[in-house]
């Protein structure tokens, strides 16, 4: 465990060094959030009755999404890992006394966390200051906030576990670039990165809620804005746990199998 911690620390420190990048990233996320909210304002003006949740809840959803973007974003993959697989250098990694899947998992977690650590607070802070209905609302109770944090951590883990699949699949594809673009855009959309899931047609939504996509970012955002009943929340947490276990277990097995292939073929 200690060695994974040091991988984590190394990557986390690296992430912290980029101050300008963090400021730029924050401003970017803030601008995206603002634009998103303006779109919804226009739709709200057109037909408030068609909104699946209150406008305040929508604004909160969007701000949280922007603040914690680095936790879920599909495009934040590690280029070094792809290079390592494509160039065949992964064979050298096999010489180290660590499990590659775990190492990459720690690495992905660290780089995502270091990004979020720098960016989320200023975004949330400014969003809190924005005038009502455009800003983020405070959670209704401490208990609700606690549940939000739990689901946030779970969705972080599910996301990382899901994106680990992209690395593993890279072993089997001729075009990691094509694979990345495709998977990233589909996952981004299905997990509510483009249009928030509550705005999807109901039938589509019901299907997506059972797939890992909703577990990746929709759940904590909705828990925070209080648009989920207790029943629904319990069910969602259970699903998050289930997907986490399934994704990690399968991903690890697939990774081992791919690595065995590499060592047989010699890269």
């Amino acid at each position: 465990m200690k060695k994974y911690m040091s991988f984590f620390r190394m990557r986390f420190q690296m992430g912290l060094q980029y101050r300008t990048a963090a400021i730029a990233g924050m401003t970017t996320q803030f601008a995206w959030g603002l634009m998103e909210i303006m779109v919804f304002r226009a739709f709200y003006a057109a037909d408030p009755a068609a909104f699946p949740m209150t406008f305040e809840a929508t604004a909160s959803y969007i701000w949280l999404q922007q603040a914690f973007l680095a936790i879920f974003a599909a495009w934040l993959l590690e280029p070094e890992i792809f290079d390592c697989i494509v160039s065949g250098n992964v064979a050298y990694e096999l010489c180290r006394p660590v499990h590659i899947y775990d190492m990459w998992f720690a690495r992905s977690m660290a780089s995502r966390l270091s990004r979020v650590a720098l960016r989320c607070f200023p975004i949330l802070f400014v969003a809190l200051l924005l005038p009502k209905p455009y800003g983020i609302s405070t959670p209704s109770s401490a208990a609700q906030f606690a549940v939000f944090l739990i689901t946030l951590v779970l969705s972080f883990l599910v996301s990382v576990a899901f994106y680990m699949w992209i690395y593993v699949l890279t072993f089997y594809t001729i075009s990691p670039m094509g694979l990345r673009i495709m998977v990233a855009s589909v996952v981004e959309f299905l997990s509510g990165g483009g249009v928030p899931l509550p705005f999807f047609p109901e039938k589509v939504q019901r299907v997506l809620e059972f797939l890992p996509f909703a577990s990746m970012q929709n759940v904590p955002l909705r828990v925070y804005s209080g648009s989920m009943s207790q029943m629904q929340t319990q069910q969602a947490v259970a699903l998050q746990l289930l997907w986490l276990i399934v994704l990690v277990a399968l991903g690890r097995t697939m990774c081992d199998r791919a690595l065995r292939r590499v060592s047989v073929q010699g890269g």
Binding site: Y18, T28, M35, M38, S175, L179, I181, P201
Partner: protein, 268 residues
């Protein structure tokens, strides 16, 4: 060499660059087609997003579903064409990082031409294809009646849009001379211009419309000429608005020159 001779020579060189790019891409056909598919899918999700929103709402800021489709598809065409030609600027940070810009400086040709030539991204055809399909669908859904003015407007929008987005890529590249870290912010204007340009800009309110007219003139290639396309206006002057992007491009070029000068004096 005289003026026309020089332009011809530059064009010839650019075509040479393009042909090498295409031939390089064709060396990895599977990857090439997968990337095209990826591009197609990416913009498909944006389209689905609009579709889902309009299943719930039937109108936004006075625009119907088909109006928005026309707007979205034209902007997507502008963007994917600009990206196809000016991808060298979009990936310029890598070029600076790898020291390849030094190579460009030791060759007796303009920097812009060489950077443009270094990358002609044919895979953006995927996005373009998606845009054309949505456009055709939008044209039928909106029952656009084609007049000479409307055709002219469309051509002008495409041209102006390519110039505008190319200018933004140029600014992005020029920032690479100063920092390789804070570049993410430029995405607000490039990718953001595409993503948020899917709705006519007045949807975002008056202030945004002013910003998008006087700071970065998106409205010139989108909102104003669009009024002609969707039959809200017959004012032919709007069809010429996209040419304002030329002024914007000139400003971007000045900034690029400034960046090059900074690069050659800091050497990093």
């Amino acid at each position: 060499m005289n003026g026309t001779g020089r332009v011809k020579d530059m064009l010839h060189l650019y075509v040479h660059y393009v042909s090498l790019n295409v031939r390089s891409a064709m060396q990895h056909k599977a990857s090439f087609f997968l990337q095209i598919t990826g591009q197609l899918l990416t913009s498909c999700t944006t389209f689905l997003g609009i579709y889902f929103m309009f299943l719930r709402f039937h109108i936004v800021a006075g625009y119907t579903y088909s109006d928005v489709l026309l707007c979205f598809s034209v902007v997507l065409m502008q963007f994917s064409l600009a990206e196809m030609f000016a991808r060298g600027f979009d990936t310029f940070s890598g070029m600076v990082r790898r020291g390849e810009f030094d190579r460009i400086l030791v060759r007796p040709r303009g920097e812009v031409l060489q950077v443009l030539g270094s990358k002609f991204e044919l895979t953006r055809i995927g996005r373009l294809l998606q845009a054309v399909i949505v456009f055709v669908y939008g044209v039928f859904a909106a029952r656009v009646h084609w007049t000479a003015l409307r055709v002219l407007t469309l051509v002008s929008m495409l041209l102006g849009g390519i110039l505008l987005f190319s200018g933004l890529f140029l600014v992005y590249a020029a920032f690479c001379f100063f920092t390789l870290e804070g570049l993410e912010f430029m995405n607000v204007f490039t990718d953001g211009g595409r993503e948020y340009g899917k709705y006519p800009i007045d949807v975002y309110g008056k202030r945004m419309q002013q910003f998008a007219t006087f700071i970065i003139p998106y409205t010139l290639v989108q909102y104003y000429p669009l009024q002609i396309l969707i039959g809200r206006s017959d004012n032919w002057v709007y069809a010429l608005y996209p040419m304002g992007a030329l002024v914007f491009l000139a400003a971007c070029y000045a900034f690029w020159r400034f960046g090059v000068r900074h690069y050659t004096s800091s050497g990093s």
